[in-house]
Amino acid sequence: MKRASRIGLGAYVAAARGTLVVQPRMGMGDPAAMAAAVRAVAALPARTAATITLDSYTRVGDHRGARRALAAGERLNGFPLVAHGPAVTARVADPAGPGVPVQVRHGSARPGRIFATMATAGLCDTEGGPVSYCLPYGRIPLAESVACWAEATEELAAACAAQGLRAHLETFGGCLLGQLSPPSLLVAMSVLEALFFARHGITSVSLSYAQQTDAVQDVEALAALRHLAGELLPAGLDWHVVLYTYMGVYPRTAPGAWRLLGDSAEIAVSGGAERLIVKTVAEAHRIATVGENLAALVHASRTAERAYRHCALPRIGQVDYAQVLDEARALIEAVLGLADDVGRGLLRAFAGGLLDVPFCLHRDNRGLTRGTIDAGGRLVWAKTGRLPLPASARPRIHRMTSTDLLSLLSHVADRQDGRGR
């Protein structure tokens, strides 16, 4: 397939310096609709990156299920990239033009076919990770995910290099289950997955972190993430930080949804993140329309522009981030101390409970930890299990009923919707 080559996500973000790059999570089953969405995102005056988000069948490797649903005229929750194949995918990405990157977002513990298909289509920007696309995304054993990710990552790097392109991988480790994982675990997972990518031939990465329950705490986490990335990633690796607008239960009202999105844009700017992936007013209810995605991008970009000039939040250089830094560093060092290879270290850490994701049902997760929200609204540890955390982590244990869980999960939404504190 011959086509003009497109700018990569890493280079695009580097060139945007001083302007927040904004990006949707957007995917639909129909190629014409997906192409129109890519075109509309790229055409916005805001500094955007385009996205092709994949459907759930493709994520679990059920490409037959995706084809069957397409044939039956069903509406999918994303773009079935493997079922459509590389030629259709290349046509869908084309309307972005050479100057706007197109990232594939997938959620697969076995990403090999997705990576091969997208690379054949000339797409080299994607995301995920051996832990973050395994534990929250299904029942594939962690060891299998780590092996699949190692192989697929190397193949992606090679397939892109063969076309004169540079693969870019973003960690999903800064999100995990979207809610109730304290920031230090998110920061640690993001750095560990970036190290994994670098170890397997990737030279351009981004490190994610998802907005949680308290804006200042999030700026602290972003400060710790930059600090540790600067310290631990190999010299010469191109990297930037990407913030995700809140990934947990979203406000149900439009004003609440706008406020939460605006807050995330301010956190991104104050915390020095270079890119933001937005959420829409439809988030709590259904898959968003293209129009809702465009409106979210415009709002985030405008809010960010204002925040560069003035913002009530402290800037990254003004916060004391020692606690999240110490906790995240302790987790990372424990993993790196378990094996020379970061993939093997991750496996041993989960087996021993040195990494343990709160509320995660996956069989390879020990399940001895819990997160909660303290009286001041910060996300903290309720149970630390066997995590090798410094004493400052001070768990606060309480019994939890289904009603308690629901109110923790809805804390952010209720606040923005004008209910609760």
């Binding site: 069948y57 929750n77 299904g138 239960v249 209810h285 999960l409």
Partner: protein, 150 residues
């Protein structure tokens, strides 16, 4: 009066969401149920086998990724075909299509596939234990439930 019930809790093959499952397990346990939670992305044959072996008092399926109306109907037909599971009461709820509350016409197809109760997107999960009681008493078969609309 409530009896001790055994519930098989599951989602569908393509659905990775688990907060719904964690929450529903806690809720049902608080109402005296013993719950087997099959976790995320449950292949059809895993669910059918578990149902055959456990003979639960009810199967509760939760899906929120928007494919629940497709995957739910498919696995339900498999459960109704299998002589070892065809008699088991089964309910489904969550966010079953990608169109929000506009999608509620999926209910008819899911009932036709064999579900006893289909909860609309707006249903309050807190109503579930009581509806399971009704199912066990044999009163709710074929019922189309609003399940306590919002």
């Amino acid at each position: 009066m409530r009896h001790h019930r055994r519930i098989l809790l599951s989602t569908v093959s393509s659905d990775a969401h688990t907060w719904n499952l964690v929450y529903l397990q806690m809720l049902l346990e608080e109402h005296g149920c013993t719950v087997t939670n099959l976790g995320p992305c449950v292949p059809d044959d895993v669910l059918v086998r578990a149902a055959r072996e456990e003979q639960p008092d009810a199967i509760v399926i939760s899906s929120v990724n928007g494919h629940g109306h497709i995957d739910g109907a498919r696995v339900m037909r498999a459960l109704r075909r299998d002589p070892g599971t065809r008699h088991l009461p089964a309910v489904i709820g969550g966010k079953l299509g990608i169109g929000g509350t506009a999608d509620e016409d999926h209910a008819a197809a899911l009932l036709a596939a064999g579900f006893d109760v289909v909860f609309p997107d707006s249903a309050d999960a807190a109503a579930l234990p009581e509806i399971l009681d009704g199912l066990a008493a044999g009163s709710a078969r074929e019922a189309v439930l609003a399940g306590g609309a919002r």
